[in-house]
């Protein structure tokens, strides 16, 4: 099929050879799992179990709650130890409501009833089952998959782009998944097409994964509406907006969504999770995680239960004694971890333990205005101008230069010869902007509350005055009556 191009991008060292040839291995079930109730964009799930409850594998632990939310399920059978707070896999080191579960070693499933023929179900019912299985986008955005499918169906999407580009260096979990489980992925794609009622799907694979592309081609050779597109390896080809541009030549409007172009992007991991949700009634309770980096003794791809600690995964891979930096995700967009005692979640594609030699030790120096960040930015923005304004807290200035369209891919910071932490400036500016918006919202709300209180006080005052007037009138009437009576008597 005809491919297009996107602007900018960078060619970071792939480093995928560390783990690309390691087949997926199952992580032995840890003794205790820590399942956060918020592993997705939106609102946290509501816990439906309490300490001491016995649960089966796949049993609901937290129910989705509020508009945008996703359920969480027990990754194994065992006993709920506590429903409390536990450190989140997040750079801040703050905690999240988490369900702690002790495994009983039996891995006993709850009763499961997969539909006999999912294609006989209504599209809405398919999406509902995907939602009930707690499936979220597994490419990193963690948006509840059922909602995304429902919205895209309403938007009349014409193409489902299945993202197997995996442009992040070091990461190989999607590569291995496509090589080893191509059939289930394609089945998941067919199911998603059914839920979407869309005519065609394109599976995009970067050209540095020829085996994966071959496996995917073989798996969908009889499907006339599913194609495999091999895209040139360039970071960030796996970002939704850039992938749409590569496949269709259409640019997502500023501030808009990918579906505005008529294309919906879903990760191959999500397609696999959809297949398991509908064919086996298997909720999203495990995922493939690449444990890699120069510091890891035996880099591998593991199928790990959600809620296993990073420590468990690293220990299984022989540890990472020389780790100078620990990331969740790839080196470009991964987030630093506060330690190894944090659980993996639905969106964890990799654990990266880098040696000091692999991390950047060069001190940043002033901007020389070379413009390399402008050339590298795949969104066509000017990172140097945005960072200058973010530094001065000129948020409106940064917005005018397109801060809202930045996808935090890190291409600019990678290309910067002065090693300026550009993305951190943008993350800071976006956070500050959010605080400002929240304050504005609160000011508006305060004004409303004030007005309502004033109105209420006025109403009470009026009611009081009216009651007093009524009493006065009654008193007068009674007096007049008494006078009339005495007059009559006289």
């Amino acid at each position: 099929m005809k491919l297009f191009d996107f602007w900018g991008g960078v060619h970071p060292l792939g480093q995928k050879h560390l783990s690309a040839e390691q087949p997926i291995r199952e992580l032995p079930m840890p003794a205790r799992l820590y399942v956060p109730l918020q592993q997705h964009t939106g609102r946290a799930a509501l816990p439906v179990v309490k300490a001491g409850d016995k649960v089966g594998k796949g049993q609901l632990l937290g129910r989705e709650h509020g508009g945008v939310s996703a359920s969480v399920h027990a990754p194994t059978s065992g006993t709920v130890v506590a429903v409390g707070e536990f450190t989140a896999p997040h750079a801040s080191g703050l905690s999240l409501p988490t369900i702690m579960l002790d495994s009983d070693g039996e891995d006993r499933w709850v009763e499961r009833e997969p539909p006999p023929d999912p294609f006989a179900l209504e599209p809405e019912a398919v999406a509902d089952r995907i939602g009930a299985a707690g499936v979220v986008g597994m490419g990193g955005a963690n948006f509840p998959a059922a909602l995304k499918l429902g919205k895209a169906r309403q938007a009349k999407v014409h193409t489902l782009a299945v993202n197997g580009a995996e442009c992040e260096p070091y990461m190989t979990c999607d590569d291995r998944l496509m090589r080893e489980r191509a059939e289930p992925i394609v089945d998941g794609v067919r199911l998603m097409l059914h839920a979407l009622q869309a005519p065609r799907a394109v599976i995009a694979v970067e050209d540095n994964k020829p085996e994966a592309a071959a496996q995917m081609r073989a798996a969908c050779q009889h499907d006339r509406n599913i194609q495999v597109a091999v895209v040139p390896a360039r970071y960030p080809a796996g970002s939704a907006k850039q992938l749409i541009q590569l496949l269709t030549g259409l640019e997502t409007p500023s501030g808009g969504r990918g579906t505005d172009t008529g294309v919906l992007v879903h990760n191959v991991g999500t397609a696999y999770a959809v297949h398991r949700a509908l064919r086996q009634a298997h909720p999203l309770i495990s995922r493939i995680v690449t444990v890699t980096g120069g510091a890891v003794v035996r880099p591998q791809n593991l199928e790990a239960p959600i809620g296993a600690l990073v420590d468990d995964l690293l220990a299984f891979c022989g540890g990472a004694p020389a780790a100078a930096r620990l990331l969740m995700g790839g080196p470009m967009m991964g987030q630093p971890l506060p330690g190894t005692q944090v659980p993996i979640v639905k969106g964890t594609n990799g654990i990266l333990a880098l040696t000091a030699a692999e991390t950047l030790t060069v001190e940043p120096s002033p901007c020389i205005r070379c413009g390399r960040c402008v050339e590298a930015c795949p969104m066509g923005l000017m990172p140097l101008e945005m960072s200058k304004r973010a530094r001065r807290d000129d948020l409106d200035g940064a917005l005018a230069f397109g801060l809202i369209d930045c996808i935090s891919c890190g291409s600019c910071a990678y290309a910067c010869p002065s090693r300026i932490p550009l993305v951190q400036y943008f993350d800071y500016a976006r956070g500050a902007l959010e605080i400002r918006q929240r304050a504005e919202q609160k000011a508006k709300e305060t004004r409303r509350l004030l007005d309502q209180r004033q109105a209420r006080l006025a109403r009470e005052e009026r009611a009081k005055a009216e009651a007093a007037a009524r009493r006065q009138a009654e008193k007068l009437a009674a007096k007049a009556k008494a006078r009339a009576k005495t007059g009559a008597a006289a």
Binding site: S92, P366, D427, T446, L449, L450
Partner: protein, 176 residues
């Protein structure tokens, strides 16, 4: 030349006179800035700035007599908006993290004095019951703190959560 000097003088006098008349008869009664600033302020008249209510504060701000960081309930975001409006720089500390009222349930006696003072109806609770503060509605004006007989109502810093946390600004020693 005399004609030119004459014409210029006459023009100057005429236009000067017009300006003078305009200044007298078309004078704007109050400072329009005052109204605009008043709209930005929270409007609860808590008096924490030291001026008699938000009106007084707006007047002082419009006259340039007060710092833009004067309003604790408004916090840093308000300071920045005011600074942008008045064309000045935000200088000095903006008062640390925002403070909101919260009730110490161990010492609350349910006197119900605080609820009556709250300008945004953020305090709930019946008499002789423990009271609570709806943090989303509280603006941290501190009016309730003054009337609490047991000092169980205090302004406390709001804890950061994963929803409100964001990356700090990189601290580099040079300009970008």
């Amino acid at each position: 030349m005399i004609a030119a000097v004459f014409i210029m003088t006459l023009l100057g006098l005429g236009m000067g006179g017009l300006l003078g008349l305009a200044a007298r008869y078309l004078r704007v009664e109050s400072n329009p800035l005052h109204e605009e600033i008043l709209q930005l302020l929270p409007g609860v008249n808590c008096g924490q700035c030291g001026y008699p209510g938000c009106g007084g504060a707006a007047e002082a701000l419009a006259a340039g007599k007060a710092a833009v960081t004067l309003c604790p309930p408004g916090g840093p975001p308000l300071a920045q908006t005011l600074a942008a409006k008045l064309g000045v720089a935000v200088d000095g500390a903006t008062g640390g993290p925002p403070l909101l009222a919260s009730v110490d349930e161990a010492t609350c006696i349910g006197c119900a004095h605080c609820g009556k003072r709250c300008p945004t109806d953020a305090i709930i609770g019946a008499p002789k019951q423990i009271h609570g503060v709806i943090q989303d509605a509280c603006i941290g004006c501190g009016l309730c703190v003054d009337v609490c007989p047991t000092e169980c109502l205090q302004l406390r810093p709001v804890a950061t959560t994963l929803k409100t946390w964001h990356w700090p600004k990189p601290m580099l020693s040079f300009g970008v």
